[in-house]
Point group: C2
Chain length 469, copies 2
């Protein structure tokens, strides 16, 4: 099976030796060409093959990133940014060789503006590190894609996750950026004002651009007050449709749920085995409510009533922080739990997002496809946004299994697009979903390529991802 | 006084006669060259001089807009989109002549997705028209810049207004667009899914681009359920600082106010005269609360307590729809009330937006400047976002008055930028604030120009606005 997106573009373009020599002189030990380091930086969390860069540069500052990019630009050498390597669509793969810039040492929280509910961090700070740092301020950063990803990487992939139904995605929570461009220029975008009508929205252009337009080195983020009250709940449903219809009605009624997550019976079984929980093996919703003491009770009562009408049962509560943490840890481990169902297997995670009115149809039809294909593919979803995931649990060395997963994935994406949805709600494009962008955006995909050419005329910034130039 | 942004670029480039002849053949009566129609389309709501186009084309469809653009492209003729003419920074001025495309006849609501809380409209639909159309669905569209602007125009300027503190701006509420590009290609951006990680965020690139990258002909928007309960309130403060500190604490406490508007004592006096109200002549906050019956009471109690600590008094309530409408009509008429303070005068409205922690400092210092300059300049603000407005009430034929307003405006913008804010929170750039973009964005302004050149290489789309190419 050929790698989607790599056909005709995987040839190395230049001898890396002179670039490596120059960077070695600049960075010393912080430029590594060891096989282990290169492999680690060519591997994401998915089934994609390891495609290591020629060398890995560990940068300490924006100025250093700019200097590295300027050297690479002189040699037409690809530059790939790397945070924690938790991307899922091959975003960090060195399709054409090149230099990976590892930003994990740029892990300083530069400023917390408690009065303005904002902060500025270096790109290598992870979301958990940030929340740990600001714990005593009464604030938190809500975006939670599961993995403890770097905030620069979350910017790059326009990450979202469980809290997005209430707090939005990275699109909504980035106030400004510092970015190194393909020629080594450094720009700032956005600012600290909550809104601005001052020119093109460069911030939103870089959010989700996956390192193809520039390398994000600093991020200014919105923060939120930790809610006065938080409660979580789970509820079991007789059918997947009953669970999804509960979600749809909850959203349509305007209940401001903070999280509303679906796990199908296959995934619940996996979670029980992996996290030693004992949820009934049936479609299940996990909820979280944020607000005042009274507001949280009000929200939960409304949702319990809606769930009850759909046959939901066992509306179980967790108000103690440790119980909530255990519940959400089980949810966050869903991906690892899915893969653990089959020892030695790997996961091909995928996601789509559809208008919420089509969510039940989309999920029911998708589960019928999975059953007919005889593939192991647990389903989880940030269903309040209309976003859900499958993990095809497979042996990536087995072409027949890969082909079956690929066929299922095509049907999944085609159905989502037919329903007015998108080929990825939050995982991003990388090279794994690049071919679908043309289907989804049509001529708009060519406009994306025009923008890529304007900002990166020599195509050195994470080439082979998102657009073809 | 020279027009900022027009120096060196105001020369007409081409003879308009052949373009007009071709468009006349295409559109018949819907291509107008009458002086009255041209003047109407060269005038915005501000003090900017009337700069009429060579002709005005009244388009009926996306295909027609594309056809008009293709003709103009062949002749290198500027193309300027026009909705209701309520822009404030010269955004619709024909600096280089050209053809204005009036979209007001493209006023169909194409689709309402009550189940998905979204809709698709032609660009000429106004916000009031949309809310009237969907009144029976239990939904509403919250973005409210005051003027009954077209939704295409609101996209173009990234409009926001009174509800933005709760519901966000046009940036947050546009799901997708149909856009005619400079070469006549038609693209769609975004989609109906609530989130997507599928490629560059072209939707957000066009939102706020003021017709310089393409002409928006269709808009897909988020809608919201009309809240179960709505209440409004006003409160009077001894000083402007006490009022602003009330705002800051309200936001920092996370009270989800739907509207929180400041009017200074000059503006309140103007409102009383214009709208025959009898508010105490003092700094005043107007609030609106949306939620459940209990939630609204809870919010109002919290705000009343905060206001009380700041010396606020006369916390007056309005729960009946007609009383609320009267209150907000008075607020919306603030601009006209300000101008009416001086018969025959015109308004030079301006706005900035700063981090909320700096809002009190910024407003107090600005009012000191105004007092020292002896200029009539009422102040209003969407203060929950850190955004406020001045209206310099002046005789635009009097160079000394213009110069005084200009000096005040420079100090205002410089202060906002020094405080980490932006030169415009919601009015946009047009040519009136173009020179400030370079100060605010530095090298980023050049990147904006790179994008402009990539999408409009011949610079025909609303030239002379936002960027210089």
């Amino acid at each position: 099976m050929t790698l989607p997106g790599t056909a005709g573009s995987s040839a190395r373009r230049n001898d890396p030796a002179p670039v490596i020599a120059e960077l070695k002189a600049m960075l010393g030990d912080r430029l590594s060409t060891s096989a282990a380091v290169r492999e680690q930086h060519g591997r994401d969390e998915s089934y994609h093959p390891v495609l290591p860069p020629d060398a890995v540069a560990f940068a300490h500052s924006t100025e250093e990133v700019a200097a590295i990019v300027r050297v690479c630009a002189r040699y037409d050498m690809p530059v790939i940014p790397f945070g924690t390597g938790t991307s899922l669509e091959g975003g960090i793969a060195a399709l054409n060789g090149g230099i990976t810039i590892d930003l994990s040492n740029m892990n300083q929280v530069l400023r917390v503006g408690a009065d303005d509910l904002d902060c500025t961090v270096q790109a290598g700070v992870t979301r958990k590190q940030l929340n740990e740092y600001i714990r005593d301020t009464g604030l938190f950063f809500p975006i939670d894609p599961g993995a403890d990803a770097s905030l620069g990487g979350m910017v790059a992939t326009r990450a979202s996750g469980t809290n997005a139904v209430r707090y939005g995605t990275m699109r909504d929570n980035v106030l400004g950026l510092k970015v190194v461009l393909a020629d080594g220029r450094v720009i700032h975008t956005g600012g600290r004002a909550r809104k601005s009508a001052a020119g093109y929205d460069l911030t939103r252009l870089f959010v989700g651009s996956e390192g193809t337009l520039g390398i994000v080195t600093e991020v200014t983020l919105r923060l939120y007050g930790i809610p006065e009250a938080v409660s979580a709940a789970t509820c079991t449903f007789p059918t997947i449709k009953a669970a999804v219809d509960t979600v749809i009605q909850t959203i349509q009624c305007g209940v401001p749920v903070a999280r509303i997550e679906l796990l199908d019976e296959v995934q619940i079984d996996a979670v029980n085995r992996y996290s030693r929980t004992d949820y009934p093996v049936a479609p299940t919703l996990f909820f979280e409510f944020h607000g005042t003491e009274r507001g949280v009770v009000e929200q939960a009562e409304m949702v319990e009533a809606i769930a009850g009408e759909q046959g939901g049962s066992g509306f179980g509560w967790a108000t103690r922080p440790e119980d909530r943490s255990r519940l959400w840890q089980a949810r966050h481990d869903a991906y690892y739990a899915a893969i653990a169902l089959r020892p030695g297997a790997k996961g091909w995670p995928t996601d789509v997002c559809v208008p919420i009115s089509r969510l039940a149809d989309c999920i029911v039809a998708t589960k019928e496809d999975i059953a007919a294909a005889g593939v192991l593919a647990p389903l989880v979803g940030h269903v309040g946004d209309g976003n859900f995931h499958l993990v095809y649990v497979l042996d990536p060395e087995n072409p027949a299994e890969l082909a079956r997963a690929d066929a299922l994935n095509r049907r999944l994406v085609e159905r989502a697009l037919e329903m007015g949805g998108t080929c990825t709600g939050e995982h991003g494009v990388g090279y794994g979903k690049m071919e679908w962008l043309a289907v989804e955006h049509g001529e708009g995909w060519n406009v994306m390529a025009d923008i890529k050419r304007a900002l990166d005329p020599r195509n050195i910034m994470n080439p082979g991802k998102i657009v073809r130039t």
